[in-house]
Point group: C2
Chain length 348, copies 2
Amino acid sequence: MPRDTVKLEEVARRARVSGSTVSRVLNNLSVVKNSTRMRVLKAVEELGYQPNLHARSLAGGSSRTIGVIVSNMENPFFFDIYKTVESGARASGYEVVIANTNYSSEQLVKSIRLMIGRRVSGLAIIVSEMDAALTESLSKGPIPVVFYDVGKPSQRITNIRVNYERGVRTLVEYLCSLGHRSFGFVSHHAALDPINIRLQTVLEVTKALAPGMTVYSASREDDLEGGRLAVRDLLALKFDPTAIICVNDIMAVGALRELREEGYDVPGDISVCGFDNITLSEFCYPPLTTVHIPRDRIGQIVCDCLLPGRSAASFEGSEIILDPQLVVRESTGLVSSHSSRRVPRKRS
Amino acid sequence: MPRDTVKLEEVARRARVSGSTVSRVLNNLSVVKNSTRMRVLKAVEELGYQPNLHARSLAGGSSRTIGVIVSNMENPFFFDIYKTVESGARASGYEVVIANTNYSSEQLVKSIRLMIGRRVSGLAIIVSEMDAALTESLSKGPIPVVFYDVGKPSQRITNIRVNYERGVRTLVEYLCSLGHRSFGFVSHHAALDPINIRLQTVLEVTKALAPGMTVYSASREDDLEGGRLAVRDLLALKFDPTAIICVNDIMAVGALRELREEGYDVPGDISVCGFDNITLSEFCYPPLTTVHIPRDRIGQIVCDCLLPGRSAASFEGSEIILDPQLVVRESTGLVSSHSSRRVPRKRS
DNA sequence: TTGAAAGCGCTACCAG
DNA sequence: CTGGTAGCGCTTTCAA
């Protein structure tokens, strides 16, 4: 729309130089005589000139931008990664543009198209959903890609994974040592592979650790309310879990609320734990036992792979596995000896 | 960088039509014969063609994008607004690109420059910091702008404000009716006008309501940890507040933690309240008394002003005042009769 | 150190 | 309904 903008040529005229020179000044091509440079800068200032970035990207062949696609920006897990990527990119003079998919692979496809349309110099895909054909076509494309949690490494594609199996094992062993034998698993988008795998892992680990353990699961949206509703679902099953494992902290905080309102004491009656170790996990009540996922590392690796002048080579086409770590706080405890729980209050 | 991309011309060759026709198909200019359209679409598919958005914006004279600049995406207050704007924009076939300033006016200037460089069709500036000269230059620019909380309305500029004075008054009256006379005010970036005004408002309202009330304030970062530290500052003052008013919910949740860890009961020993009514305010413990700010309305107004085919005209250059609303939950209560508080636990 | 000219990939206008 | 032809605003050789 804004066709009525000050353009490079006008600056050139006012500074009595050619467009080429203005361009050089704007891009710090140090070959410009200082006096002319000053003249140009002055003209830029006086005219309030703002270079058209589209024209620049088009002519220059680079957008100096990297794209980040996440499943749910509302969940601090994703936001923390984004923040790290952004500050890394800024430091290299790059912009980062972000997109949200809300766990929809249809939206994922659209977002990837958008990013390619913008000719981003690199793309980070931090999502749980996946379109099979997509990885394929992406790996043939010219732009470097980093996946988190989905897709397999290949030419120009780096893969970051978390060793969930290990995190889950540590967590369940810890819970077992506290006497827990009956678990609820709170999750979201259970149909998506990377998430389903976590439930499977819980199932396998518990089975291996002590046969006869029971695990029920419920799945809702990936947010506070989702955690709350999932617990409501779980409680309706009346299988009396002694511990509820949540697929992430944000849902765990939602779980905490439902249990509190139903009159359960955490961890007295029921233990609760999450994954991620977001800041909120320390601020909720009670503070959450959780499994730390190194989001800053993820962000750094994304930067290393996608930004120029970094040690990209060492990651190129490889798979990087991150180790999670158990963080014990106050939302988990020994199974109470009395088998009958406090009578739940009526829901308000 | 990616100069090795499939371009419109190649599609044209393969479909045996001119570039113009390909462009028409891509833009749904319904005048194309169906058979040719099919041929083009097929070629697009086979070649995996992705239009270069920069070229498109440049040639078309419009980026079909609106920009949103916020102070702190980490605070759900801003994110909620963004979400509303995004879905509105999507519905109109627009993209939205967002930027964070972290309350730095230097960063604000950079972000605005970036948005102008991208030739956004509209710009929403939801921040607390402000560069005086900026409003000026923006109002002369060709792009429609919506401000929240800062700047004054003028040609092409719409202003959204919240009637904080009224919100504060309602809140303080409520607190006074509970017997509170000694307040702490938790805030962030107190030097910024829109935020300082809130403290001033609290001061004025309390003074008017009952002379002799005491109000101390502390200012930290705008996040959970900031709320916690601000309360720590306040407690160090030893003026024994009976209520702590937080400038927003996120800081209030941080406040809750500090009080809990110091052994205070909320609301038994101290009442706490916030502003915004973010989802978290219902999920924390105890649930927060707060003042609801209609974020969805803000988002809608932004859309109305910035997106085409909406009732922009009715807002153009005007100031819109939104009314906040008190939401009473469980973090506030009567001042306890016994003047001596529970002995604080040692900090862990 | 500077200018002229040739694009970058696409849209839009004008013929046909 | 379709093709040819100008640009959009900037960067980038290539000469001077």
